[in-house]
């Protein structure tokens, strides 16, 4: 049935490949923004007041143990997990970026308070356990960029860490994280920060290890409004920066507004370029067979018979071309992502909804284009159809 349709199938495949590739880039950005949004809406993020090292989402200062205890005592709070978030490379820590590599230390004596990330998805090995020291769990992109896996060793601030786990690719910030027990993260912080070392050595401040936190993830009790709990913390605990989940979500949305606009543009481009290419290819394939239509009508074919025949062929051709286009886009994405993986990037995300949608879109559009072209072709007499081809 598909004999003679090689170039049509190729044309459709190229159109669909463009559609899917652009759509996959758009999906990648969507997943990144959605993942961040989901994270910030799952917890209340608190930091000590001040400029600190400018790390993490809260960009705050030191959050001492006394503040942690005070937060835990606020009505509506379900749990407070002290955390230390440090830039892996301090020279890039001047600005909060969504793509920088971070070291994140968890206090594992406290359950993860984030309602949307009670645990992080581990692809290989295991997550951190209470009592662990000098072990690390790596984000997928971080591990891939350095060729690390479970059992590998990683040096951080002169100390050797055993990699005990690698996370699934999440297409958001944790892909670039190195997760360690909080005691190890505190040791790295001291090693990185000369000012902190000086303060600790001087004895000017009565600091213990438990005071060395850059922030805390705070959970709320069931039925509580997270923003109301955050406001309550802000009122009752002095010298802390409290981010309302909704405010942080809004901040994230506005800071990614450019990406949102970009992905909308990419989406529109994908539909217009891919759709036009596909519709044009299918319609041209029908128009160039105008002589065949003339001959078939001379042999007694009715408009309905021809319409059924063409739509059946268009369905088959767009289906084959669509599948080929998807395969082409997957191959393209695989090659390009392989190329940029070394710089810790992933440009494409081929979600099932994208692939299914692209296939359905191509089949529907191809069939519609074929129906339109057929209607045009059968509107001329058989003699005219035969004459036009000579």
């Amino acid at each position: 049935m598909l004999r003679g349709y090689l170039f049509t199938v190729l044309g459709i495949a190229i159109g669909v490949a463009g559609l899917v590739a652009l759509g996959a880039m758009s999906e990648r950005i969507v997943r990144f923004i959605e993942g961040g949004d989901r994270f910030v809406l799952g917890q209340i993020s608190v930091a000590g007041r001040g400029m600190g090292m400018g790390t993490g989402f809260t960009a705050g200062g030191l959050l001492p143990a006394s503040a942690i205890r005070a937060i835990a005592a606020v009505p509506g709070v379900a749990g407070v997990q002290p955390q230390v978030m440090l830039p892996l490379n301090p020279s890039t820590s001047q600005f909060m970026t969504l793509t920088q590599e971070l070291v994140l230390g968890f206090d594992l004596s406290v359950p993860m308070p984030n309602r949307h990330y009670r645990s992080l998805p581990v692809r290989a090995g295991r997550f951190l356990l209470e009592g662990d020291r000098r072990v690390a769990v790596l984000g997928a992109a971080f591990a891939a960029s350095r060729g690390l896996g479970v059992g590998s060793r990683l040096t951080l601030e002169g100390e050797s860490y055993e990699v005990v786990g690698v996370l699934d690719r999440m297409l958001t910030a944790p892909d670039r994280f190195v997760m360690v027990p909080i005691a190890d993260a505190r040791a790295q912080w001291v090693a990185k920060d000369a000012l902190l070392r000086t303060v600790l050595a001087s004895g000017a401040m009565a600091l213990t290890a438990a005071d060395l936190n850059t922030g805390a993830a705070v959970g709320w009790r069931d039925g509580e409004d997270p923003d109301a709990v955050a406001l309550r913390i802000r009122e009752r605990v002095p010298a802390v920066n409290v981010q309302l989940p909704s405010e942080l979500s809004q901040l994230l949305q506005s800071s990614t507004a450019f990406f949102s606009a970009l992905l909308a543009g990419i989406g529109v481009l994908a539909f217009v370029i891919g759709g036009l290419s596909l519709a044009n290819t299918v319609a041209a394939a029908v128009f160039e067979r105008i002589r065949d239509f003339g001959v078939k009508r001379a042999l007694g074919a009715s408009d309905l018979q021809l319409g059924r025949e063409v739509l059946g062929e268009a369905l088959a051709v767009t289906l084959v071309g669509g599948v080929a286009g998807i395969a082409l886009a997957l191959a393209l994405g695989w090659v390009i992502d392989g190329y940029v993986a070394g710089s810790n990037q992933q440009l494409f995300h081929f979600s099932p909804r994208l692939l299914g949608g692209a296939l359905a879109f191509s089949v529907l559009l191809g069939t519609a284009a074929a129906a339109y072209a057929t209607a045009r072709v059968v509107s001329v007499s058989p003699a005219e159809a035969i004459r036009r081809s000579s």
Binding site: G4, V295, R297, L299, E384, I386
Partner: protein, 222 residues
């Protein structure tokens, strides 16, 4: 079998001026009769055949197949009438390049609901009669002009149509192949079909019951 009364057909020149090609053509062809229409190139022979075969509408006049005024039918009914009554043979063969020779022949049965093993056997028999059975799996570009026209002939007569219309059927063939095709066409007339051939070649008129010349839009007996 075939009757045409007062057929009129005009085309528009690029300047917009009407060019009258058929100016009231009357024609009657009985079953078993071979009628040949001659005339110089551009005289309207192909247009006459197209109107007779319902491939295009005339501007006036009527076409009758037996007792049915088929020129007044709607699009669907005209398609059915073409499939049921008419076999066409064209100068340029008009085989579908994506189909094999046998598939091209069988195409004639597809739209009239006659596809089946018996039709396939008949197609192979017809192809054997005109000497192209061994080319059944070849595609048109793999066939010579003579072979293509033989395949086209098999397609035209597969449904045993009571009317065969041939438009310059030997126009693209050498003398030997032309003779084979003309003999096959005469055979259809002997078998009882009404046959109209338009041709500018004199040998096409051999064995014809009536020969007309189309001049100034009208048929003249020589």
């Amino acid at each position: 079998m075939l009757r045409a009364v007062g057929l009129v057909k005009s085309y528009r020149a690029p300047s917009g001026a009407p060019i009258r090609v058929l100016a009231g053509v009357d024609l009657s062809v009985k079953p078993g009769e071979l009628v040949v229409v001659t005339g110089p190139s551009g005289s309207g022979k192909s247009t006459l055949l197209n109107v007779l075969g319902l491939l295009e509408d005339g501007d006036g006049g009527d076409v009758w197949f037996e007792d049915a005024r088929v020129s007044a039918l709607g699009r669907g009914a005209k398609s059915r009438a073409r499939g049921g009554y008419v076999g066409f043979l064209f100068q340029s063969f008009l085989l579908l390049p994506s189909l094999t020779a046998l598939e091209n022949v069988l195409l004639a049965a597809r739209y009239v609901g006659r596809a089946g093993p018996a039709t396939r056997r008949r197609a192979l028999d017809l192809m054997a009669e005109v000497g192209v059975a061994d080319r059944q799996d070849h595609f048109p570009p793999q066939l010579s002009g003579g072979e293509q026209q033989r395949v086209a002939f098999c397609r035209a007569v597969l449904n045993d149509p009571p009317l065969l219309l041939a438009d310059e059927p030997t126009g693209s063939l050498d003398d030997a192949n032309g003779a084979v095709i003309l003999a096959a066409i005469r055979g259809r007339a002997r078998a009882g079909a009404a046959v109209v051939v338009v041709s500018h070649r004199p040998e096409a008129a051999v064995g014809a019951g009536m020969v007309y010349r189309l001049r100034d839009g009208a048929l003249e007996s020589p």
